[in-house]
Amino acid sequence: MRVSEKDVLYVADLANLELTPEESARMVRDLNSILEYVDRLNQLETDGVSPMAQVSDRYGAPEKEGTAKFEYAMRADELGECLDHKLALANAPESDGAFFKVPKVIER
């Protein structure tokens, strides 16, 4: 058993999820089952293989090097259009018209 109930609580804390006791118990089972399956990746020798985080790592402008590969994705650092303030607040669960309102942050 790779993942314990304690691990699940710790990870839920990191993920900002407050799991119910039933959810926690189920999560222990599900995570263990999935992790056991993904373990087969260890059958593969990957020393010296570079990781591929982005498809464009390998398929970006091939003739360029380093950050030059992504020049096409850059623009001048100039102010453009901004989202209208009222529109930005339109989906707010709670607002005072100027800001998004949230409960007080209480020191732990």
């Binding site: 990191l14 993920a15 407050e18 189920r26 999560m27 498809v55 994705a73 529109l87 942050v105």
Partner: protein
């Protein structure tokens, strides 16, 4: 006129030649939706006001005899993971139940600018996480071809809408197979373009290095037309590729004689569904016999490692992307939280479904200190090995043909209790997402029970033209057979 199974070209011709108005065409589709979608549940939101206004604009142009834009009056629908300005967008989740986006997804904006009439938003697995659309917080979609079965997922609503005659074409998204697999289950064409070919701006993010937008259509030709409209560099998406967009529709006529088709051994394993195997092998033989293609056995040796790789990369990226749903600026906020921290945790736990939570947990675990190297980094390295498999294959062949899915559509409820079994449904589709190559699913027959079977064609990066040429040649050969 029968508006049940129009193609894009058919709809355009009918409107241009004044056989029907865009308004009537939209109204007919809405009538059909009202009569039949209660059972199928492919739509979550209908945007009648916007649609009828768009249709009226097209009719005004047609009445004046003005030239019509390339998708004038074509009734379409959009998977609810793409934001539509002023029209509720839920991502199939309760956490966005009342979210009305203040901006448009680029792909949708391009369709609108081309005159398409967007009828509404289609149902999907929550945050595109699933292979059956049973993870939608709003209830599943039923396969129009057999209503006791799933339409596939996560773009089940978009696939079903085309199959059921509710839209001429739709947009879906694909992260692990979510366009191709439902296309295969519903008997329609589903295209996943090369990663970066279509802007992801406005696509509610699931896994940013794996997400793609693509069309569901009735013919390969229609897919080519739609890709031409939505593809191309978008300054709003830094991962959208700076690669010119060919005239895909014109490419279709080019001959496929002599093209080399790779058939990978790992996708035709012992114990796979015999009818799927036969249908796809027959399709390949038809291309060889009638279209003059050459069939080349190949190997993609790291195929068995694609699913574990996918479920580490995708979940890790998802755990990061879904951190934004915190009840602060939009979406569900839990009532009566005393602290900010309580608000975050309760809002998320109350409104995320079980599959979403499972994936966030798995992804967070894979990225956490002490496990990052063993899981996430390892998966990224295996991704490179998968990419190398494809590079070696495409040095020998021009296209790769496989089944899209190991089985036809399964029954509703059949796989909901076993997450791993559901994940394995993606086995033939995930590799293309990981490597970034384009893939198309094309109907190639039915099972004895009448369930659609799809074949998948994959090609090199940015070579969608090959997909369209081969797909069209197959449709042609099959019709003539």
């Amino acid at each position: 006129m029968d508006t049940n199974s129009l193609t894009v070209a058919g709809a355009l011709t009918a409107i241009r030649e004044r056989q029907i108005t865009a308004t009537s065409l939209a109204e007919e589709h809405y009538r059909r939706i009202a009569a039949e979608d209660g059972e199928i549940h492919s739509f979550l939101t209908l945007s009648k006001e916007h649609a009828m206004a768009a249709a009226a604009k097209v009719d005004a142009l047609a009445a004046r005899g003005d030239p019509l834009p390339p998708l004038a009056g074509v009734p379409m629908a959009i998977k609810d993971v793409m934001v539509t300005r002023g029209v509720r967008t839920t991502a199939g989740s309760k956490i966005l139940e009342n979210y009305v986006p203040p901006y448009d997804c680029t792909a949708v904006a391009r369709l609108r600018a081309a005159g398409a009439v967007v009828l509404g938003k289609t149902n999907c697995d929550e945050f595109a996480m699933g292979s059956s659309t049973e993870n939608s917080a709003y209830g599943p979609v039923r396969n129009p071809r057999d209503k006791s079965r799933v339409p596939g997922g996560s773009s089940g609503g978009s696939a079903a809408a085309v199959a059921a005659g509710f839209a001429v074409a739709t947009l879906g998204s694909d992260t692990g197979g979510s366009i191709r697999q439902p296309a295969s289950f519903c008997g329609v064409v589903g295209l996943m373009p090369t990663y970066g070919r279509v802007s992801r701006y406005g696509l509610i993010a699931f896994a940013s290095s794996l997400d793609h937008i693509g069309p569901f259509t009735r013919t390969v030709q229609d897919a080519a037309v739609l890709l031409g409209i939505i593809a191309g560099r978008d300054p709003l998406d830094s991962t959208s590729a700076d690669v010119p967009v060919p005239d895909y529709a014109a490419e279709i006529g080019k001959p496929v004689r002599g093209m080399k088709i790779g058939v990978p051994a790992e996708y035709f394993t012992e114990g796979m569904d015999a009818e799927v195997r036969t249908a796809v092998e027959d399709a390949i033989q038809l291309l060889a016999a009638k279209a003059g293609c050459e069939v080349v056995p190949i190997s993609l040796p790291h195929t068995p490692y694609a699913i574990p790789t996918y479920y580490l990369v995708a979940t890790a990226e998802a755990s990061s992307n879904l951190a934004r749903y915190d009840g602060v600026r939009y979406g569900h906020r839990s009532r009566e939280s005393r602290t900010l921290s309580e608000m975050y945790r309760r809002s998320r736990d109350e409104a995320f479904g079980p599959e979403v939570k499972r994936r966030i947990m798995l992804g967070t675990y894979a990225l956490s200190a002490g496990y990052y190297d063993a899981y996430y980094l390892k998966a990224q390295k295996v991704r490179t090995l998968l990419a190398r498999d494809f590079e070696e294959a495409f040095a020998k062949v021009d296209a790769i043909i496989t089944p899209t899915s190991p089985t036809p559509a399964f029954k509703l409820g059949e796989k909901v209790d076993d997450p791993l079994s559901m994940y394995l449904a993606d086995i033939f589709t995930v590799t293309a997402d990981l490597v970034g190559v384009p893939g198309i699913s094309i109907p190639c027959g039915n099972s004895r029970e009448g369930l659609p079977i799809g074949m998948q064609i994959m090609a090199r990066h940015f070579d969608e033209s090959t997909l369209f040429r081969l797909g069209h040649a197959y449709e042609h050969a099959r019709a003539a057979a």
